[in-house]
Amino acid sequence: MDENELIQQAPGAPPIVIPMTESAPQPVIIQQETPKRAEKSGPLPITNRPTQGGIPVILFEGVSKVYSAQPNKPALSNINLGINAGEFIFLVGHSGSGKSTFIRLINREIVASRGRLLVAGEDVIRMRNWRVPYLRRNIGCVYQDFKLLPNKTAFDNVAFALQVIGKSKHIIRTQVPEVLRLVGLEDKIHSYPDQLSGGEQQRVSIARAIVNRPPLLICDEPTGNLDPQTSLGIMRLLDRINRTGTTILVATHDREMVDSLRKRVVELENGYLVRDQDKGVYGIDA
């Protein structure tokens, strides 16, 4: 039962509800002090966050990622950041600023070049390959392109995520309709992806990401393909999921969304963390 040790929540059990008060989550912010960082890109990250708090669920300590295709331009440079359980965080920045790299480091689609990255207390950089699937069972993932299987219905797409980690038919029959109801698709259970709108497809993919009740949900541009109205619906859904205690990290370009929800905002620029702000907006100078 290795996967249960990873995060103190048994799969299939109801999610741990962490009350969302205005001041509850207090992540550790480690000020970036390396001289290299200071030389190269000016000011330290602007932050209004206090530097004390509980044990973070995600902790970046001096994490860098250099792709072999661009050895002189790190995709991420010396990132220090802590994310507490139950937080809702927007990750903003221009294209190429390192948002996707940041996201993909967390579920170990890629491995950081330097530093220490703890997810739920486990070092994902030094993690053994065979442990990775168990890490991912605790991380829900939502992408811009939905990644749904076109030959499966909404139900089957969500059920697939449970099937392939070996859940019983009984669990699938009870959990899948429940999670589809949660995302507001109770009447489209047997529709195929091409019969659903973009927003509905994204809801299916969110349903798939949370059906196993992961404590952490990471979203890479979840509203990138959607119109503002639909995007708002998706963000409200994510907010609702967050209120059940799930930690949510959203990488986004959606200025309107970030500005209206006023969550913690982390900004990346050219691979550097330049801002970490509670109840922030999309652009500091906007």
Binding site: E3, N107, N129, W130, P133, Y134, L135, R136, R137, N138, I139, C141, K147, L149, F160, A161, Q163, V164, I165, G166, S168, R208, N212
Partner: protein, 301 residues
């Protein structure tokens, strides 16, 4: 157990989708194993042939019609006293003719005027491989020239199965080399074919695999259906080749035996089963190895 059922289900549905490549894989395994099997059965038969020919090796000494009883008796005594010799049998002219009549397919013997066939001594040996030295000793004996049918050509009066055995050996060694080369080639082709089918199967399901990885399916679970597919192809191919070979063997024993009665075809049932087992094992190894090879390159999990 639930996953095993899932692997089999997936393997079958995938085989249906890529029927032509799956079919190609099965046929390649089938043909490769068929050649391996035929080679093994053939070498089994040849081994038995060599053994039976060796055991039949006897030395025939054709005798002069007017040989005296005394010479004959002392020559027989000399032969019987040789340590390598097990029995010495005298076959008279009449018996010789009887034998010829039995073996002859035509009634040519009846039209013969008198009896042209010589009497002979049949010497059978304890150890077939000593035949040459025994023959040399016989030809060196003083009485030899006085008893044989044609003293002017002693070589023609003494016959033994030397030529047959040497020919048989040279043929079988050639066949063996050709077969081994063919088997290696075909195993290689089968491996490539399986590798190719599994690679296509992986490419066809790239998206599904990406999602499986994303939601945390274990590596074994992702690989399972592909391994199962390679395994099933191999087992079906091996089954086909085993069936074909057992049919061929039955045919061989029933029909060829009656046409070529001198050719002893009797394969032990046990060695046949061993061959089937080897074929099945080889098929499974080819199937699993071929799919593992494909996955190593295309399924980095």
């Amino acid at each position: 157990m639930r996953s095993l059922a899932y692997f089999i289900k997936e393997a079958f549905s995938n085989s249906r989708k890529n029927f032509s490549t799956t079919f190609g894989g099965i046929i390649t395994i089938f043909l490769s194993l068929l050649v391996i099997g035929v080679f093994m059965v053939a070498s089994l038969i040849i081994d038995q042939m060599i053994k039976s020919v060796e055991s039949q090796v006897s030395i025939s000494i054709y005798l002069h019609d007017d040989v005296t009883d005394m010479d004959l008796e002392s020559f027989k005594g000399f032969l019987s006293n040789m340590p390598e010799v097990s029995t010495v049998v005298y076959i008279s002219k009449e018996q010789s003719l009887e034998r010829f009549k039995e073996q002859a397919t035509t009634d040519i013997a009846d039209q013969l005027d008198g009896n042209p066939l010589p009497a002979l001594l049949e010497v059978s040996l304890r150890e077939p491989d000593k035949v040459q030295s025994v023959v040399d000793q016989i030809m060196a004996n003083d009485l030899f020239l006085s008893v044989i049918d044609r003293p002017d050509a002693p070589q023609d009066s003494i016959k033994y199965g030397k030529d047959i055995i040497e020919k048989l050996f040279s043929i079988t060694s050639t066949i063996r080399i050709v077969c081994i080369a063919l088997v290696i080639l075909l195993v290689f082709v089968a491996l490539i074919f399986i590798n190719n089918t599994i690679r296509l199967a992986i490419l066809a399901r790239r998206k599904e695999i990406a999602i499986m990885k994303l939601v945390g399916a274990s590596n074994g679970f992702i690989r399972g259906p592909f391994l199962m597919e390679g395994f099933l192809q191999a087992v079906i191919g091996a089954g086909l080749s085993i069936g074909t070979i057992s049919m061929l063997c039955n045919y061989l024993i029933k029909n060829v035996q009656t046409i070529l009665p001198w050719l002893p075809i009797n394969m032990g049932q046990l060695s046949l089963w061993m061959i089937y087992l080897v074929l099945l094992g080889a098929g499974v190894v080819i199937g699993l190895f071929g799919s593992l090879w494909a996955m190593r390159r295309y399924l980095k999990v």
